[in-house]
Amino acid sequence: MLNLIGLLAQTESESLVPAAPEYRDGSYWFPEAASSFAKDVDPLFMLIFWVSLVFFAAIVGFMIYFVIKYRDRPGHKVEKSASHNTALEIAWSVLPGFLLIWFFVDGAAGFFNMRVTPGDAEQIQVIARQFNWEFHYPNGDATTELHLVRNRPVEFVMESRDVLHSFFVPAFRQKQDVVPGRYTYTWVKPTKEGIFRLYCTEYCGDSHSLMKTNVHVYNSQEERDQATFYPWEDETPIKNGQRLFNMKCSGCHNNNDVKKTGPGLGGIWGKMETLSDGSTVEVNDNYFRESLLNPGAKLVKGYANQMPSFQGKLNDDQIFWLRAYIKSLTPNAKIEDELNLPASEAREKVDTADGDKPAAE
C-alpha cells in the first residue's frame, strides 16, 4: 500500500532533508478525494460536465450539419424559412433555465456544507506570511506542515501577517482566502490518511509559487502528536533555531548562499556586506539582531526593503536560537559551547554570564 510509504515519509517530515513524499493519483478530472467535501463537488462537477457536453455536442453537431447541408454550391439557393419564431425562442431561453436552477441549488447546498463548521471541530490557528505557512495546534505545538487526524473535523482560524493568501488543498476541495486585518475561517473533515499538497492560491509576491506545503493525515491522535510534538527545552539552540527558521524565514531566505527574495543566509557570518548606501557592515551578533528587528536600517545592496520587522513577534529566546542556527550555517564561524547544550541549560549559561555581554566572537 502506498499509505505505508506515506507514513514512513511522515516521521522524517521535519528533519533536515524532508523525504520526497508520495502523492497518490486521482481521476482524470480530479486529484484524489480525501475529504467529506468531495461528494459535494465531484458528482456535481461531473453532472455539469455531461450536461454541458450534451449541449456542446448538439451545438457543434447542428453547426456542422447545417454547414455541410446548406453550403454554398452551384444550384443551391437560400430556402425560405422563418426569420423568427417566438415560441421556439422563448422555449430555448427558458427551458435551460431549469437546469441552471438545479446547478445553483445543488452548488449552494454543497457550499453551505463547506462554510458551516460543525460544533465539535478542533481548532487550528493558521498564520500565513510571505511565503510560509505556520500551523498552531490546541496543545501548543506549531509546525510548517499541516498534521491532521482522519475523520476529525477541524476548523482553521486563519490570519495573514502581510498580504492576501489563500488556503487550498486540492484533495480536500476546500479553499479560503487569508486576509490581513481580519480572521477568515474554513474547515475540513479529512477522510483518508496520506500526504496531500497545500497551495497558496492568491498571488502574494515573488515566491508565491513556492508557498506550498504538505498536509499529513493520520489514523490516530497519537501519530499526530508524535509528528507535531517538539521538546524546545531539551533540544539545542541550533536545532530550535532551525525549526524556527523553517517556520518563519525560509519563505524568503535559503539556508545556503543562493539568493531568494532575500539573501541566502548560508556562509554569511563574519562576512563584510555592502549596503545599499555603499557602506559596509560586518555580519555579527548585533547586525543580525538589528536586521531582525529593524530590517530596513542597513539594507544589503541589491535587495528591496520588504522584510517585515519581527519586533515583538519573536522573544529573546527565539532570537537567540535563530542566531545560533544562522551562525551554524557558516562552516568556520566560531560556535560557542552552550549552543550545543539543551536549550534550558544554554539559557542558564547565557543568563549567568551577564546581560551586557555582546555574545563574544
Binding site: 486521482g26 478530472w29 480530479f30 486529484p31 459535494d40 463537488v41 456535481l44 462537477f45 455539469i48 454541458s52 449541449f55 451545438i59 457543434v60 447542428f62 453547426m63 447545417f66 454547414v67 446548406y70 453550403r71 454554398d72 443551391h76 439557393k77 437560400v78 430556402e79 424559412s81 426569420s83 423568427h84 421556439l88 425562442e89 436552477i101 446547478f103 445553483f104 452548488g107 449552494a108 454543497g110 457550499f111 453551505f112 456544507n113 463547506m114 492576501l164 489563500s166 486540492p170 484533495a171 476546500q174 479553499k175 479560503q176 482566502d177 486576509v179 490581513p180 486585518g181 481580519r182 499538497r197 492560491t201 498571488y203 515573488d206 508565491h208 509559487s209 513556492l210 527574495t261 520588504q306
Partner: protein
C-alpha cells in the same frame, strides 16, 4: 474597377477621393478627424499591443515548459504575467473591436459621415497612446508585479512601478469612456430618419450596449485606481489593513468595473459574429429582437455579478449566494445568441470563406468558454476551481477564443472595405485553422490541470502537471504562428491584393454602399435604405464584379416583399 456612371451612382465617386489618398503626409494622419483613419490608427495601435503582450505570453509559456527554473526568476515571471495581462486587457482587448473596427464601421453602418464628436474621437486615440505609454513606462522602469488586478495590500507594498501602471490604466479608462460616449450620441442622433432602432444592424446594438457599460462602469475603475494611488502615497487607510483599511473593499471596487469590462470585451465580438453569420449564410439573422435585447440584458446583468470573482475572498455567505444566482441568469442571454446563430445557418447558403471560418470557430470556442462558466458559477465547484488554471482556461476561451477570433473574423470581413483589396482566402483559412488548433491545444489542457489543482500565477509547479503544461506551450506557439499568418495575409492584401468593388460579399448593411475603400465623406451619393439583413435585395453584377441592389437592376419590380422588420 472603372468608375462607370452606374458604379458612381451606386458606390459614389471614390478612386482618387478615397480616405486613404485624399490627403497625405504624416500630419494628415496625426491630426485627422476622420473616423476611418482614427479606426485604422487604433487598429495599428492595438495590434502592436497584441503582439507585445503575445510575445510576453510566449515567454511565459516557454518558462513553464518545465516545472523548474528555465530562464526566468520567480520575480521576472511575475512581472511577465502581470504585463501580459495588463497590456492585453487594458491596451488590447477593451479597445480592440469597439475602437478599431467599431470606429471604422459604426458611422458607415448608420449612413453617417462621421461620429458625433470627431475631435473627442481623436482625443480618445491619443489617450490610448498616453495610457499605453504609461504602461510601457512601468514596464521599462521598475516593472510591475501585482497581476493586472492590482489586488491590495500587495499593490501597496510592492516596490514595482504601480503608480505608472495605474495611471496608465486610468488614462486608458478615459479613452474607453470617450469612445463609448461618442458611439452613444452617434447612434442616437445621427441615424437616418427612416432607420428605427429595430432596423439597426446587430453590431450597432452590441456596440451601443458596450458603450453603456463603458460610460457607467469605467469611472468606478478610475476612482478605484486613484484611491489606490492615494493609499500608496498618502496612506489614507481605505484599502491597507495596516492603516485600518479593508483589502476586500478594493476587490469589490475593482470587480464592479472589471466584471462589466468582461462584457465590454465580449459584446462587440458577439455583434461581429451576428453580422458574419448572417452575411455568409446570405440569410436574414434569425430572431433579430432576441439577439438585440440579449445584448442589453447582458450589459445590465453584467453589473450585478461582480461578486462571483470573490466567492473565496471572505465576503459573506449570503452575498455569495446572491451573486451565484444572478451569475446563472447571465448564461441565458448568451445561450440565446448561440441558438439564434445556429438557426440563422439553417436553410441558408453558407460560404466557408475566411470570416465565416472565424465565425464558426467562435461558436465552438465561445461554446466551451460559456459552458465552463457554469462550473465556476456553481458555488461548491467554484470553491475547488477558484484561482486555478481552470479559471485561466475559461477566460482565455472567452477572451481569446471569443474576442480575438471575432476581431480576426471582423477584420477579414471588413478588410476589403477598409483597403479596397481582397486577401488570399486560402491562406486566410489556413491561418484560421492554425489559430483554432493552436488555441485548443494551448487552453484545453489547462482545464484539466486546473481541476486537478494547479493554482494560477505559479512560476514553478509540481511534476504531475508537466505534461499538461508542455502541451499548452506547444499549442501557444502554433497559436502564435496562426495569428502572425492571419495578420501577414491581411497586410499582404493591402499592397498586393486584387482590387475589388464596393460590395464583394453581398452584404446588405449600409457601409457596403460606399466604394472600397470609402471616399473621405463615406457616401457622396444617395444611399439606398436597405434593411440590414435583406439579402434578397442584393444581386451579383458580373460587369462590376460586385453585388448591387436588385432594385437598381430592374427598377420597377419590387417583387420581393422586404421582410418586415420585427417590432418587439
Amino acid at each position: 474597377m472603372s468608375a462607370t456612371p452606374q458604379a458612381q451612382k451606386l458606390f459614389g465617386h471614390a478612386e482618387e477621393n478615397n480616405y486613404l489618398k485624399c490627403s497625405s503626409g504624416i500630419k494628415s494622419w496625426l491630426f485627422t478627424l476622420d473616423h476611418k483613419r482614427i479606426g485604422v490608427m487604433y487598429l495599428i495601435g492595438v495590434t502592436f499591443a497584441l503582439f507585445l503582450a503575445g510575445v510576453f505570453a510566449l515567454i511565459l509559456r516557454s518558462e513553464l515548459f518545465t516545472g523548474d527554473e528555465n530562464f526566468l526568476s520567480e520575480a521576472q515571471y511575475n512581472q511577465m504575467f502581470t504585463l501580459h495581462g495588463a497590456i492585453m486587457v487594458f491596451a488590447f482587448i477593451i479597445p480592440s473591436i469597439p475602437a478599431a473596427l467599431g470606429n471604422f464601421v459604426l458611422p458607415m453602418m448608420l449612413g453617417a459621415k462621421d461620429v458625433a464628436f470627431p475631435r473627442l474621437n481623436l482625443c480618445s486615440f491619443y489617450l490610448w497612446m498616453f495610457g499605453t505609454a504609461f504602461l510601457l513606462t512601468a514596464m521599462l522602469t521598475n516593472g510591475l508585479d501585482t497581476g493586472w488586478t492590482f489586488y491590495t495590500p500587495y499593490s501597496i507594498t510592492t516596490t514595482t512601478a504601480v503608480i505608472y501602471a495605474t495611471m496608465g490604466a486610468f488614462i486608458l479608462g478615459f479613452s474607453s469612456i470617450f469612445t463609448g460616449l461618442n458611439f452613444l450620441v452617434t447612434v442616437n442622433t445621427m441615424r437616418p430618419k427612416t432607420m428605427g432602432w429595430f432596423k439597426l444592424p446587430l453590431f450597432i446594438w452590441s456596440l451601443y450596449a458596450t458603450s453603456i457599460i463603458q460610460i457607467l462602469a469605467t469611472p468606478v475603475l478610475g476612482i478605484t485606481l486613484l484611491l489606490l494611488i492615494a493609499e500608496r502615497v498618502m496612506h489614507i487607510g481605505i484599502f491597507d489593513p495596516a492603516y485600518g483599511g479593508d483589502p476586500v473593499l478594493f476587490q469589490h471596487f475593482f470587480w464592479f468595473y472589471s466584471h462589466p469590462a468582461v462584457y465590454i470585451m465580449i459584446l462587440p465580438a458577439m455583434g461581429v459574429i451576428s453580422e458574419l453569420i448572417s452575411v455568409y449564410s446570405h440569410k436574414k439573422i434569425f430572431g433579430y429582437s432576441f439577439i438585440a435585447f440579449s445584448s442589453v440584458a447582458i450589459a445590465l446583468l453584467g453589473f450585478l455579478v461582480w461578486g462571483h470573482h470573490m466567492f473565496t475572498s471572505g465576503q459573506s455567505q449570503l452575498v455569495t449566494l446572491v451573486f451565484s444566482a444572478i451569475t446563472f441568469s447571465v448564461a441565458i442571454p448568451s445561450a440565446v445568441k448561440v441558438f439564434n446563430w445556429l438557426a440563422t445557418l439553417y436553410k441558408g447558403s453558407i460560404k466557408l470563406v475566411t470570416p465565416m471560418c472565424y465565425a464558426l470557430s467562435f461558436i465552438f470556442l465561445f461554446g466551451i468558454g460559456g459552458l465552463t462558466g457554469l462550473f465556476l458559477g456553481t458555488l461548491s465547484t467554484d470553491i475547488h476551481l477558484h484561482d486555478t488554471y481552470f479559471v485561466v482556461a475559461h477566460f482565455h476561451f472567452v477572451m481569446v477564443g471569443g474576442t480575438l477570433t471575432a476581431l480576426l473574423g471582423g477584420l477579414y470581413h471588413w478588410w476589403p472595405k477598409m483597403f479596397g483589396r481582397m486577401y488570399n482566402d486560402f491562406l486566410g483559412r489556413v491561418g484560421c485553422f492554425l489559430v483554432f488548433v493552436g488555441f485548443n491545444l494551448t487552453f484545453f489542457p489547462q482545464f484539466v490541470m486546473g481541476s486537478r489543482g494547479m493554482p494560477r500565477r505559479y512560476a514553478r509547479y509540481d511534476p504531475e502537471f508537466e505534461i499538461f503544461h508542455q502541451a499548452s506551450t506547444i499549442g501557444a506557439f502554433i497559436l502564435g504562428i496562426g495569428i502572425l499568418l492571419a495578420f501577414a495575409v491581411l497586410v499582404h492584401a493591402v499592397f498586393f491584393g486584387r482590387k475589388i468593388g464596393g460590395n464583394p460579399f453581398g452584404a446588405a448593411s449600409l457601409e457596403w454602399q460606399s466604394s472600397s475603400p470609402p471616399s473621405f465623406h463615406n457616401f457622396d451619393h444617395k444611399i439606398h435604405m436597405n434593411a440590414p439583413y435583406d439579402f434578397s435585395a442584393m444581386v451579383y453584377d458580373e460587369e462590376m464584379d460586385t453585388y448591387i441592389q436588385r432594385d437598381f437592376v430592374t427598377p420597377e419590380t419590387p417583387e420581393v416583399p422586404a421582410p418586415e422588420p420585427t417590432k418587439a
